[in-house]
């Protein structure tokens, strides 16, 4: 019995990391339509920020989370102003531009912070393990799960219940008409991009104590994030939540009964098959084109 519980917890932990990494991408992609290949680099920069704050200023991880969010969001803002906003009508060029930004960011980090693997210390209060219904799980993993769900709820509420969210939904449906009703879509896009980048940075800081921090770490996460977003349906936040839960639990289960190599292959295969028959993803919203 406790193995069933611990397997579910493992799956949830995988899901929470997927959700954290994919949420920012889903927001940016869903609202602005920009395929942000530098998303993994925002994650990486978030991890490096946490590392920097910890080694240079002695900050523990928890208080530095807010600073990391603010810094990476500011960076996202700058990138939107300098590069992305000129490319909204040229989707192919945004792919190239964001990919180029990603490569440059990796090398800048390598040149300034060095190529070595870095570590971020887990907050001491969360470094133990907890018993839940007979199964043991790392307290930190549960904390990450809680933060992921919290962030999702905040994002959901902004999207659903604020006037800003209303404007965002209007823009998503049809940018030209929304603009003609007086919505400042340029400002909305800028905020969205900054918010998505900030969440990615937060994700990086949160996973840094579990994994290693290196200039290339973003590459794997951007793939995972795209998997989640594509499967969940591009403009659906709920879809992102559901698909990260499904992917996390499935990967965990297959990895337990077989191994991680097989799990990765089978999950990708399943996604290819699903996309073949449901190209819009599992939870696509109906919109007027």
């Amino acid at each position: 019995m406790d193995f069933v519980i611990s397997q579910i917890l493992t799956g949830l932990s995988l899901s929470s990391i997927l959700l954290l990494v994919a949420l920012g991408l889903a927001i940016i992609y869903g609202v602005t339509g920009v395929i942000n290949l530098a998303h993994g680099e925002f994650v990486m920069l978030g991890a490096y920020c946490a590392w920097l704050l910890q080694t240079e200023f002695g900050w523990s991880l928890l208080p530095s989370l807010a600073v990391v969010f603010a810094l990476i969001a500011a960076l996202g803002w700058l990138i939107e102003v300098a590069v992305i906003r000129h490319l909204y009508d040229r989707p192919l060029d945004t792919i190239l531009a964001t990919w180029g930004l990603g490569v440059m960011t990796q090398q800048i980090v390598r040149l300034t912070a060095g190529g070595e693997l870095r570590y971020v210390q887990m907050p001491p209060s969360l470094s133990g393990s907890v018993d839940i219904l007979g199964a043991t799980d790392s307290a930190y993993r549960l904390f990450v799960l809680a933060v992921a769900i919290g962030l999702f709820l905040i994002t959901w509420c902004i999207y659903r219940y604020t006037s800003f969210g209303l404007k965002l939904r209007a823009i998503t449906q049809n940018r030209a008409i929304a603009s003609s009703f007086g919505i400042n879509s340029a400002a909305a896009f800028r905020l969205t991009f900054a918010y998505g980048a900030g969440i990615a940075g937060l994700a990086g800081a949160l996973i840094s104590p579990l994994k290693s921090v290196s200039p290339e770490m973003g590459t794997t996460y951007v793939v995972d994030a795209f998997m989640v977003v594509v499967l969940g349906g591009v403009q659906s936040l709920l879809g992102t939540l559901a698909s990260s839960a499904v992917l996390g639990e499935t990967t965990g289960l297959i990895a337990y009964y077989s191994n991680d190599t097989i799990a990765k292959a089978l999950v990708l295969l399943a996604i290819v098959i699903i996309i073949r028959f449901r190209p819009q993803g599992l939870f696509a919203q109906r919109i007027r084109a």
Binding site: F3, Q107, G115, Y256
Partner: protein, 415 residues
Amino acid sequence: MNKNRREFLKTSAAVSAFSLVGFPHIWSKNSSLAFAQSGDIKVGVLFSLTGTTAIIEESLNKATLMAIEEINANGGINGLKITPVVEDPASDPATFAEKARKLVLSDRCVSVFGSYTSASRKAVLPVFEKQENLFWYPTLYEGRECSKNVIYTGAVPNQQQDDFIPWLVEKFGKRWYLIGSNYIYPKEENNYCKKLLEGLGAEVIAEEYVPLGHSEFSSVINKFRSEKPNVIFSTVVGDSVVALHRQYRAAGLDPATMPMASLTTSENEVAAMWGDAAAGHFTSAPYFMVFDSPENQRFVEAYRSRWGGDKVTHFVSESAYFQVHLFKQAVAKLAAGDINPLTIREAVKGEEYKAPQGLVKVEPENLHCWLRPKIGQCKPDGQFDILTQSADWLEPNPYSAYPNQKCTAEGLKQI
């Protein structure tokens, strides 16, 4: 038009004649002039400074350059200075091959020091075999290779496992869980490990491989929990090692009853984990940074004053360092006019050097090194406690898992 074609044919004929290496006379006469030109000896340094394995290869590049600087500061080799030509193969096997070709053909290097992964070594191998040049490979690796154009200064499976496996079985028990990254190195190491375990009457309860670069081990750790092995034999490499150790620690597993035994977790990887994540686990290697010898003290001090006080040395950077000194000893035996890759290879056979790990020797038969394996347990401060060291140096046997094959000076032999 016609003339151009004739010209082209002539050049290609000349080129192909030149690249014929079957005539040692022509080769050594032409090359010896070129190889020790104008009072310096050119060598290639081929470690990735960018890309995924740059993390570790940077330290090998540093150790190699430091050894070259040391030799030059002490007057070079018989008055000849070593000039390093540094190339960055960017962690990509195809680029490795291309840069190796450049170093050998256009820079006319007499030897090349380089590479970390087996994939990159396999990629440059044809270049050195075809051009009869010499490649110096510092990394521990899976064995099962017998090239006359490579000097292997890292450990092969028998050197790391012969002492280690029986010691672990006796100390912890007979239920073993083998976990590795999914490529050739872990599979070959596990082949030999399974052979040893069988001889000891121990049981392999699982053999599992995760993708390279994998960083999510929660399912694996669940399996550790349910299977309760006595020893986890880990050949997980790269940044996956860091993730595995940190997640093992976060899950609350105890190294005292279920230790991880590794052949690749060095000071370098431990430095990348948070503090005591690796504490209590075991590594077998010929060299640890804390090893107490005057040579090692000098090596560590020199390395830190040259590259920074927070840097660590480890068992691959140590080989990268001492192989340059072996190169120097071999070249020192040659007259300036005789210096070429093949004479260096002959001169280095049987050569001994007092390395930081202790005295090492190049085995004339298979060009691997006699090394001094040690077993270390990681401490919370990121350094190792050396628990045992082999009584004598250990012979390299790159075909230890394949008793009917043997690497000799004439090439691979079937017995």
